[in-house]
């Protein structure tokens, strides 16, 4: 497996899915390096990328890849060892106070003020940011309504579920109308309905013109929400493009997953070799069969997978076995990730 960097035009104003625009850059990151004291390797080893204004930018990588460190630097909580980071035109190292005015953060863990009610959490946050009283009352009511929290505004955060806590933190972060909103692993621990609600909200934010940067190790989330995705591992950006383009760049590989019921004669190895001999087949892997009733093969092919079904079935029959299941696979972001890093995400 290749682990060679494949940084496709980080920041270049191209790529389908996002209209070529002059709307400008919301986040600019250049050669960001972070070395923690006593750490054997750099947490960030020169990360560069741009986030365009108004886009949803996905930051995808396994735990420990450098996502949180990057977000920590962009949100002024971690000081970089080197490099440059600019959020909404403000250098986060040179002017952290100015940067905090224009960015909003929704952390992974609940950090709501437990001494305050839901509504007071929103109001005090706005007061820290200098929003006048009348305006913050009005905003709090509107956001509580939009996030489905209006029926218990005086409840304390401890009395709410995980999904509701998440919504409160997003509503709070929006109180000072940040230009860029950072969501750190937003759907971790959420049930499917709450996750769907979150995704709808992010789409709504984008429609309202807010730039959103999301970190996730969830492929579906990255593909569903993001205009563009940066894949990060070992502190470097391996690839950056729209989800569609990243997948398409997988050499248009398709797969067939076959399950075979073994016959009285023949063996898996010789069948595998026979399958690999078909024209257009790139590779054949025998997979573990959890049920243990037969053989499972993953066949990587060039072009469309469907035309291979008939010849595969013939070969299987010739081997005295029976084809019991075939699945045609399209490559997805996870395949891209495995291709780039040589390891699965979770």
């Amino acid at each position: 497996m290749s682990t060679a960097p494949r940084q496709t035009a980080a920041g270049a104003p191209s790529g389908p899915g996002v209209e070529p625009s002059d709307r400008g850059t919301a986040v600019e990151v250049r050669d960001l390096v972070k070395r923690y004291p006593k750490a054997p390797v750099d947490s960030l080893a020169g990360v560069s990328f741009d986030v365009r204004r108004g886009e949803v930018f996905g930051f995808l990588g396994p735990n420990g890849a450098g996502k949180s460190t990057t977000i920590g630097i962009l949100t002024t909580r971690i000081r970089p060892t080197g490099g440059r980071a600019v959020v909404a035109g403000v250098d986060v190292v040179a002017d952290p106070v100015g940067a905090r005015r224009v960015l909003g953060v929704v952390p992974q863990q609940n950090n709501l003020d437990r001494s305050l009610s839901v509504r007071q959490n929103l109001l005090f946050h706005a007061s820290y940011h200098g929003i006048p009283r009348a305006r913050r009352n009005q905003l709090a009511d509107a956001l509580l309504e939009q996030f489905g929290l209006a029926d218990r505004p005086e409840g304390r955060p401890d009395d709410f579920s995980g999904g509701q806590i998440q919504r409160m933190m997003i509503a709070r972060a929006l109180m000072h109308a940040p230009s860029v909103l950072f969501l750190d692993e937003p759907s971790t621990g959420l049930d499917p309905a709450a996750r769907l609600f979150l995704w709808e909200k992010v789409a709504g934010l984008k429609a309202a013109g807010t730039t959103v940067v999301i970190t996730t190790h969830d492929m579906d989330e990255a593909a569903e929400l993001s205009d563009r995705v940066a894949i990060i591992d070992h502190g470097t950006v391996l690839a950056l493009d729209t989800p569609e383009r990243l997948v398409r760049d997988m050499h248009s590989e398709r797969t067939l997953d076959c399950t075979v019921e073994a016959g009285p004669t023949g063996d898996a190895r010789s069948l595998g070799l026979a399958l690999a001999g078909l024209v257009g087949v790139r590779a054949v892997d025998q997979l573990d069969d959890p049920a243990g009733t037969g053989w499972r093969f993953r066949i990587d092919v060039d072009g469309e997978a469907a035309p291979f079904v008939a010849p595969v079935a013939t070969l299987v029959a010739d081997a005295g076995a029976r084809l019991t299941d075939v699945r045609l696979g399209e490559p997805n972001l996870e395949d891209v990730f495995i291709h780039l890093t040589g390891r699965a995400l979770r």
Binding site: V102, Q109, S127, Q146, T210
Partner: protein, 290 residues
């Protein structure tokens, strides 16, 4: 939605179809032009005052109980029984005012900081507010000092109630208030150090190891010059910042009792405050930024 927050997801989540593009104002809202970091600091202070104000009786009970018992047992019981000399109340009272200021200040920074930095993460929203990180630490100290000052002030009516009268000279009133403020700040600065350097799982043992010596070597129950015949203990007491607050208040309230010169108490107190704040701010920055 059930009160325990365990309601089923579907009844708590509104129809996404109602979520329009009105989720957030698209343009960044411009706060008042003159908005500066110090106003953010004041807003954070207002939050702390709001929360304390709501539970003011609990706060008072918290800070009053220990000095009240000390005052009652040492100032009233022991003197009435004849185990302490009649004048002892006057030695004790300024010392207990100092103790209330310093201890309350200390506890008002140390415990909240330990909790907010570790278990609750609550401090994050303030660290992400538009003011320098050090400003959050300064606010903590100012607020804790306000609590310490209130605790010290409350000692006066309690003293009148338990002892019948307290030593007080109108001519030194302003200086007494200044010394009480200094003592509260010293306590808060010590709490800043404890709250930022001590890991959460060690805070209990640290409190036991720090508070007891602090309370009993701080000259709140005896005048420092009288320790002349117990030289080593006098040296230990001289290292305790509380000693200068106790002695300073004693000099201002009962000048006829032997005491460390008041100007020296102010001077050493301010030097201690600068050093403790510098150490505490360094620790706070280390915890807040990585």
């Amino acid at each position: 939605m059930s009160p325990d927050g365990e309601g089923t997801p579907m009844d708590t989540i509104p129809d996404p179809g109602t979520v329009g593009p009105d989720v957030a104002p698209a343009t960044a809202f411009a706060p008042a032009a003159r908005w500066g970091p110090w106003r953010t600091g004041l807003a954070i202070l207002r939050r702390d005052l709001f929360v304390t104000g709501r539970e003011f009786p609990i706060f008072l009970a918290q800070v009053i109980l220990q000095p009240l018992f000390l005052l009652f047992v040492f100032g009233k019981v022991l003197t009435d029984l004849g185990y302490a000399r009649p004048g002892y109340q006057e030695v004790l009272f300024p010392g207990l005012v100092a103790l209330a200021a310093v201890l309350t200040g200390l506890q008002s920074t140390a415990l909240p900081l330990v909790i907010e930095f570790s278990y609750s993460n609550e401090i994050e929203d303030r660290l992400l507010a538009p003011l320098p990180v050090g400003g959050v630490a300064v606010e903590k100290v100012v607020f804790a000092a306000m609590r310490g000052f209130v605790a010290a002030v409350v000692m006066f009516p309690i003293g009148v109630w338990i002892l019948g009268s307290i030593p007080w000279q109108a001519s030194t009133g302003v200086a007494v208030v200044m010394m009480m403020v200094l003592g509260s700040m010293l306590g808060a600065a010590m709490g800043l150090i404890l709250g930022t350097y001590v890991p959460p799982h060690r805070i209990n043992v640290t409190f036991a190891l720090v508070l007891t010596p602090l309370i009993f070597t701080g000259c709140s129950q005896y005048p420092w010059p009288s320790l002349g015949h117990l030289r080593w203990f006098q040296v230990v007491a001289a290292l305790n910042p509380l000693t200068y607050v106790s002695e300073g208040l004693r000099g201002l309230m009962v000048p006829y009792v032997p005491h460390i010169a008041t100007w020296a108490c102010f001077l050493v107190g301010v030097i201690y405050l600068v050093v403790l704040m510098a150490v505490g701010m360094y620790g706070f920055n280390r915890r807040a930024l990585s």
